[in-house]
Symmetry: C2
Subunit: 362 residues, 2 copies
Amino acid sequence: MAPIRNGRVLFNAIPRGYPIPGETTVYDTTQVIDIDTAPLLGGFLLKTLVLSVDPYMRGRMYAPGLGDSYTEPFQIGKPLTGFGIGVVVRSETSVVEEESYIYGSTIPHQEYSIIPTLGDLEIIEKHPDLPWSTYLGAAGMPGQTAYMGWKEFAHGKQGETAFITSGAGSVGSMVIQLAKQAGMKVIASAGSEDKVKFMKEIGADIAFNYKTTNTHNMLKHEGPIDVYWDNVGGEMLEMVLKFAAPKGRLLECGLISGTTPPNEVMPYFERLWVSGYNSPSLGIRNLHHLVTKGLTMNGIFLPRLLPKYETEFYNTIPEMLAKGEIKYSADITKGLEKLGDVILAVQKGWNTGKAVVVVAEE
Amino acid sequence: MAPIRNGRVLFNAIPRGYPIPGETTVYDTTQVIDIDTAPLLGGFLLKTLVLSVDPYMRGRMYAPGLGDSYTEPFQIGKPLTGFGIGVVVRSETSVVEEESYIYGSTIPHQEYSIIPTLGDLEIIEKHPDLPWSTYLGAAGMPGQTAYMGWKEFAHGKQGETAFITSGAGSVGSMVIQLAKQAGMKVIASAGSEDKVKFMKEIGADIAFNYKTTNTHNMLKHEGPIDVYWDNVGGEMLEMVLKFAAPKGRLLECGLISGTTPPNEVMPYFERLWVSGYNSPSLGIRNLHHLVTKGLTMNGIFLPRLLPKYETEFYNTIPEMLAKGEIKYSADITKGLEKLGDVILAVQKGWNTGKAVVVVAEE
């Protein structure tokens, strides 16, 4: 077979503010690949099927050596990388069989990749009734974050009250459903009427638009809050600290960290990585409630939870998703050439549901 | 026996700023009591032996109905109350025997009290080699806070690093020793050279005066911090968040909560209750480290921990104190008439070690 196009999304320039398609990233079609003969050097050839677009990606668009960020920056002139799934076309390693599927957080944003070793990538199997895109959302990293964070830290009890921010997102929407399954009263917030509607559909007892509703009064009347799923930080967190129940559990998934403390380099990109937002905020001024109410605050760092819960997750969640016992929302875009537009849309919050780019059908 | 003086320390006026002896509180000698015949009405007569003076007491010196403080205000014209120990002189209740000792957080600040019912007070036994004052410090509430908070939340491991603020205080000094017993490297801070010396004597590997040493550089070179015992909050907490190790545990015992958030009444006294300090502070601006490092932050609220650890505490700690296996420091003042001065000294931070007033020898 003759060489074919190997489309790629290259990191082209460090953005100032929002990443602009065609400037920050460019879709490049100059590379070709002969999938039958390209040398694998002991590795394997992966055909990319689906790629995840996430808020944290903005956080990797900075110059090397700047700050003490824990994520590596993208390299100018090289393809972006991120969560994705592909199918193995050819393999020269016994660890990876042809036609097997590979999942991981370092999949290059190109149609075909020659990968030297499995490394941190995983071989993954798909539920027959779910599309691969689901494995980047409800059955992937966001769903795992929700499921494992909840299991480890929420200790939700029948009759208690949970409050979930960004409740229409791929993490928050699963948390709403886990809280309902635990028999809790669920309050959920998001930033549009469409999202409020969706949160009610998936079971939130009280869903509100924080842009048009007074959150303080809402929590005052519907609280106190036993479990808080924090996707936003900032003043919302302060209000929850105020209206937290004694022994309340605060699960920190995303925080607007606000202004930079003295002696600390924490540039825009890192705040964005964590928050998915870019509005500045003051610090949290009422952490004394931690002491006076005996509260617990846990940061949800998925790599720490995966070893304990990964098998359980894959054994239960895909089946529940396939049966409709857990609902989810995905925002699918077809074509790698659109990936730059999806990056911007995710930064702007235009997507409804988990943003996934389908690069190729099987 | 003829009636004798029953000296009392009365709450006289709400202070503006520091509580002034003779103004905020007055020592009153107008009341007399006949300890043989005073009617007990089914209760018991307690002779006060020792009283604890604590930072939180300033937080009870406010007008009733102001704010949403969880502590009751002292009543103007009535004696202060607080942690203390007394001996039962007479009793009309079968629950309390004569010559037994009573411990609790609501002991009136007067020489003799008629107490209608045991309520939340406890009968307490003393180790023969320890003075009663110890049961208000290392063997009392501060020691319990240190011991139970550490046991529940620190999970300190051999070779890890602990950082303890206010390390010369009655809580912090025990935490230093618990951390050393766990095989940890211990960094400790306090605000004077005398306190630094004491912290080294009780085992801190690195002890420093935060007023004269750059904490940021200290933590940068001696960290990262696996376990943080937070007695102060504020910028110190921000620095620890920055230099926390992955999976670090932050134990929140006292926080400078800083400026008042919108919609939240949190007056001076409540901040003071929690912090024992009165310097204002901005909020905490880098809680995103909770997420990116998977940190845990637990508020230490003693009433929640007592049921689990109280028996174990009394079975082990007094013996270790008596043997010198745990060292402690007490600042003993004799005479109830001096109690107002001790309150001011504690607010000013002049005391070294747990402040206790000895009202009477047995």
